[in-house]
Symmetry: C2
Amino acid sequence: MFAGCPFKILEQPKFVYDGKWLKMREVRFRKSDSLPEQVWESVHRRTVPSSKPDGVDVLATLHKDGKKYFILIKQYRIPMAGMCLEFPAGLIDEGETVEAAGLRELKEETGYTATKVLSCTKGKQGLSPGLSDESVNFMIVEVDGNAPENKNPKQNLDDGEIIEVVLVECDRLLPYVELICTEVHVESMLYAFALGMNYAQHFL
Amino acid sequence: MFAGCPFKILEQPKFVYDGKWLKMREVRFRKSDSLPEQVWESVHRRTVPSSKPDGVDVLATLHKDGKKYFILIKQYRIPMAGMCLEFPAGLIDEGETVEAAGLRELKEETGYTATKVLSCTKGKQGLSPGLSDESVNFMIVEVDGNAPENKNPKQNLDDGEIIEVVLVECDRLLPYVELICTEVHVESMLYAFALGMNYAQHFL
C-alpha cells in the first residue's frame, strides 16, 4: 500500500485503536537506513470507500432576484468545541456517486435544490495529509432561487440536528469571513476559497 | 469547554487513546433529552497550543524576471499513502508567533525568504471540523526572486526529509491542479484556493 514511498516502511501498518467511527494507525519507518526508527500516527475513517474520497464539499451559489450568494452552513462542531462556518458537505454513502452525494447533502443541509452542476473535481483532496487520509471532492453548483423547488427551501435534518443556512453575497465573501473568523471557526477550505477569490481580483 | 453547545454533553470528554503525537477523544451526548445517547469521536494533536492554531499555511508567490509563481511543495505523506501537493506549512512551535512559524517553514521547506508579508488570518481555520480540532492560519507573502537571499534558495530539511519545490505560474494554478490531481493528492486548501481564483475570474 505504500507504493512510491521514499522511506523504508518497517512493518505492516498497525491499527492501535479501533473506535466506532475512527481508527488510529501507526506506521514504523526509517527515512533512510542510517536514520533512527520513527512512528507516524494517523487517523482513518471506518466508513472510507477506498476508490472514492470520504466526502464531498458543495460550492453552491444562489441566484435570486439579480443577486448572487454563496450558500454556507453554520453548525456546532463537537471536535472543535465551537460554532463553525463551512461549505455544505457530507460523507459519500456506499454505492453513491460523488455528484449524487453532493446534491443530497446540499438539499438535506440547506433545503436548496441545485439547478445546474458546473463541475466536480477528480482524485482525492486531502483535508489534512499529515494527520489523516480523509479526503473530499469539490462540486460546484448553481441554485436558481426563483425556481419553484427553491421558493421555500426546507432542510431535511436528522432528529435534533441544528444547521443554520448562511447566505453571503458572492463579492463579499472575504470581508465576511475576515469579520467573523474570531467568533466562529471558518473551515480552512472556505477561507482558502475566499483568499483565492481575493487573490485573483487584486493580485493577479 | 463546550460553551454554547446546543447538545447535552453527558460526561467529561474522555481520551480513549493516547499516542505519541495524537490523542483520540470520545464525547457522549444527546441532541435532545428525548433522543438516544450518541458518541462523537475526534482526534487531537498532543502538541496543540491552546490559544493558537496548530499550524500555518503559507501562500507564497515568487516574483522573478517579470513572472509570478505560487511556491508549492510535493512530498510523500504516510497517512495518505501517496504523494501530496500542498502549500508550504508546518506546526507552530511553543512560544512562536504564527508569522514567525510561517516564515521559518517557508525557508526550511522551500529555501525561499519572504520579502513582504501581505496578511495573516485570525482565529482558527479548522481543517476537518467533524473529525478533529486541528486548525491553521493562512499567511500571504511575497518572495522577490531577484533579491540576493533568493538567488540560490537552499532548503533546510530534517535528515532524510524529501520535499520537492514546485513553482506554478499564478494564472495557471487551476489548470495545473486539475491536470495532476489524479496522480498526486492535491490538498483541499490548495484546491479550494485555485477554485476561488477561477470563480472570481469567470463567475463573479
